[in-house]
């Protein structure tokens, strides 16, 4: 790969900022909603075990 192609392969400022912030949001979304859904699953399990 020559220097010109390497320069083209690099992301510019706004694209890099989009990658950084989007990655943070996607990870945060996955973690947050995983634990929220997990809490509901545990609640269902609690109800099932205790015969409510």
């Amino acid at each position: 790969m020559n220097d010109e192609n390497k320069a083209e392969a690099k992301l510019d400022d706004i694209q890099l900022a989009a990658v950084v912030s989007s990655s943070v949001f996607v990870v945060w979304f996955a973690v947050y909603w995983f634990f929220q859904i997990q809490a509901v699953r545990e609640l269902f399990e609690f109800v099932r075990v205790n015969n409510f």
Binding site: D13, I14, A17, A18, V20, S22
Partner: protein, 193 residues
Amino acid sequence: MPTSILGPYTRTITAVVLVVFTVVFFYTVRVSVRASIEPLFDWMTASWFGIIGTTWGAAFAIVEALHLIGLALIGGTVIASDGRLLGLVLADQEPGVVVQKTYRIFNWALILTLSTGVFMACGVAGKIYFLKVFWYKMLALSAGMLFEYGIRRPLLEKDLEDITPWVIKLTATASIMVWFTVGALGRWIGYSG
């Protein structure tokens, strides 16, 4: 083209600093800052909006309906715009045209949602102050607005052909996730407390 003192990656550095600041804030001074603004919520409860919101149910219901319309419009524009960028909807339309057409609707929907949200918050200020989900919603809303106006729109102002395709798809996915979270947490507040 002039560059700032942060160099050619000003926006990226700003985004990283904001993320780091948010994480540090969350794990350090969050609780004390929250306690220090409790008087603001007392003031909101005692304000005209707070009194109307707590004593006149019909007014609160009408404003809440407008709030939901605002949220629905935001959701609609996000699904149309980001869905088109992902190639999931409106496949017969040019992506750039769809994105541009949703901007104005999104702006007005956001203004409607924010203005009605302030009124509603005054009506239930004593409740939401103690709700974790309210603070998560404010975090998601702030992040969503900064992302929309600071990252997504400046990115999509470029010719879409000049943007790396997976960057467009990642940005669209993140946008859908953020605004889904804002909407879901908003409804969660309604069912809490």
